[in-house]
Amino acid sequence: MENYYAPLDAAFHALADPTRRAVVSRLTKGPAPVKELAEPFAMGLPSFMKHLRVLENDGLIRSKKIGRVRTCWVNAERLNAAEAWLSEQRALWQARTDRLADYVETHLSGSMDDAG
């Protein structure tokens, strides 16, 4: 159960960073080479590539190297899946509620005395 929902957390983590949000925003307008994507940011290419890897690992973007140019594009399937957001939210709250129950029953039961 937990393993199944972990990718959602990872994807959220990917979007929590302003550089990565900006990259995804740019890519929703169309594919772009890495060099062009990196241009607006005041960071070295290795640092920028780390951001791209996070996005690609989380399935938010895809990339392909043709010759010496690596081109990135947004993962449309993931975008279309946005329609499923409510069921994703439900799954997330269900998992969270189960974690609370497990935590209470495992770690806090029998602690009535200091419940205040």
Binding site: V24, A81, W93
Partner: protein
């Protein structure tokens, strides 16, 4: 847009009295243990349990920096019974534009020797999302990100 398309309710029995379940919710050290699934680490930055009080959690993976997770404002706090918070406001009822607008109504009700725990979560409806889509990218990073964030967002 019918409400069932934009709200959800999770309810379950927890085998501990409301005072204990409340403790797991209202104590930062406890909340951090279950609010976000491992291995992602949760830090409870603010948990000011009164109307207008801040509710802020951050998260990180591995040795990275802590990133924003949830920023919200409590609307209602009834000891060991009810918690209501929303992400469209932050501390002191300051209006905000969250990635995912939601209001969560958490209730703790005694049932036998345990607790009937429920989380009812209200979202903006799909029509709103479509309206935003039509408006495009005027705000810099735009709607698609909002939708993506809504899809992937961990709660907030």
């Amino acid at each position: 847009m019918p409400a069932e398309r934009s709200e959800l309710t999770i309810a379950r029995f927890i085998n501990a009295p409301p005072a204990i379940v409340w403790k797991a919710w209202s104590t930062p050290e406890h909340l951090a243990k279950w609010w976000i699934p491992a291995p992602i680490e949760c830090k409870v930055v603010k948990l000011d349990l009164h109307p207008g009080g801040a509710f802020e959690t951050r998260m990180r993976e591995g040795d990275g920096d802590f990133q924003p997770h949830l920023s919200a404002c409590f609307l209602e706090v009834v000891l060991e019974a009810r918690l209501v918070f929303t992400t469209v406001l932050t501390e002191g009822w300051q209006p905000a534009e969250p990635w995912l607008a939601l209001t969560a109504i958490i209730t703790f009700e005694a049932e036998g020797s345990g607790t009937r725990y429920a989380a009812r979560v209200l979202h903006k409806n799909a029509e709103d999302s479509r309206k935003h889509e039509d408006m495009g990218f005027h705000d810099g990073w735009g709607t698609t990100i909002d939708q993506l964030a809504a899809f992937v967002a961990r709660l907030p």
